[in-house]
Symmetry: C2
Subunit: 180 residues, 2 copies
C-alpha cells in the first residue's frame, strides 16, 4: 500500500513524492498540533494523531512541521511560527526584531513517518540564514519574504521555484529518503 502524506497542498505532495522517489497518496486530515518548541516532538505527535485519525492504517503516514528559529530569540517561535505569522505577519516580526543586532535564523522542517507498527521516525532539514530588513519578493508563503538563506542575497520569496531545489523541507525529505 502507498504511503500517505498528510497535507492539503498538492504541490507539497508532488514535491515530496519526487524527492522520496515513491508514489504517495494524499490525506487531508486536520489534527491539532501540540504546544512545544521541539520540532521533533511536535511532528512525531502529529504523525501519531494523524495515524489515529486515519484509523491506524497498514500504510506509512507522513507529516511535516516547519518554522523559523530566530537566533536572537533562542529559537523562538520555532514550531509556533504560524501563530506569530497569523497574529502580526512578516512586518510585525520585523518590528519585534528591530532592535536586535543578531539577524540569524534557521528555517527548519521535520518530517515524521509513522509506521503501521505505530513507531515513528523523524528527519530534520535545516537551512541557515538571516532575517531581511524588509519583506521582499512576491512568491512563496509564510516567512518566505523575510528569510535569506546562507549564500544568497535573495529571500526565499524572491527565489521562486529555485527555493525548493535546496529548501529546509527538501532537505528533510532527502533525509527521510533512506527510510523508503
Amino acid at each position: 500500500m502507498k504511503p500517505v502524506f498528510v497535507t492539503s497542498n498538492e504541490n507539497k505532495l508532488r514535491e515530496a513524492s519526487e524527492i522520496l522517489g515513491v508514489d504517495l497518496d494524499r490525506a487531508d486530515v486536520d489534527v491539532p498540533e501540540i504546544q512545544s518548541l521541539d520540532f521533533e516532538e511536535v511532528a512525531a505527535a502529529k504523525a501519531l494523531a494523524a495515524r489515529r485519525a486515519l484509523g491506524d492504517p497498514a500504510y506509512q503516514v507522513i507529516v511535516d512541521d516547519s518554522g523559523l528559529s530566530v537566533g536572537a530569540w533562542g529559537g523562538f517561535p520555532g514550531p509556533l511560527t504560524r501563530w506569530l505569522m497569523k497574529s502580526v505577519g512578516n512586518t510585525g516580526l520585523l518590528k519585534m526584531l528591530a532592535t536586535e543586532e543578531d539577524r540569524s535564523a534557521q528555517a527548519v522542517c521535520v518530517v515524521a513517518v509513522a509506521a503501521p507498527s505505530g513507531s515513528v521516525r523523524v528527519f530534520r532539514g535545516v537551512v541557515e540564514g538571516e532575517i531581511s530588513r524588509e519583506p521582499r519578493g512576491e512568491g512563496g508563503f509564510g516567512f518566505d519574504p523575510i528569510f535569506v538563506p546562507e549564500g544568497q542575497t535573495r529571500t526565499y520569496a524572491e527565489m521562486g521555484d529555485e527555493k525548493s531545489m535546496d529548501s529546509h523541507r527538501t532537505r528533510a525529505f532527502r533525509a527521510a529518503r533512506k527510510g523508503f
Copy 2:
C-alpha cells in the same frame, strides 16, 4: 465525589478551592496542550485530555490556562505565552515591544470544567492592563514583573498577595463558581 483540579501548584489549589467554595482534590497529570490562539479551545481540549488521562472519572475535572494578550501584537502570544517566556523571558518580551507605542495588554485566564458526561464548560477571567517599561518586583512568576493592571501603578509582581484578590485567574474561578 470531590472535583479534581489538575495543577502541580498547591497554592493554586487552595486559592481555587476558596473561590469556588468547594473542597477540591488535586491531580498532577501532565497533558500536552494544543497549539491555538484561542484560550477557550486550548483549555477545553486540556480538560478533555486530562479527563482521559485520569480514566474518564465520575467527578468533575478542572483545568486552567492563562497568558498575556498583547494589544500591539493582535493578542499574541495568548495561550502560547509560556513558550515566549521560556525562550526570551520578560526582558526579551520588552525588547520585542520596544518600538511599539501601544503598551496595552490583557491578562487572561480560562477555566475549563469537564463533567462526568464528557461535556465541557469554559469560564473566562480578564484583567486589562499595560506592559511596564522594565521588569519590577520580586513576587509572582511568569509575566507578573511586567504586567500593570488597570488602575494600578504597580506590577503584579510588586502587588504580592494583593494580586490574587482580583487577578485574571481569580476572575475566571469566580465566573466558574455558579457551576458548583
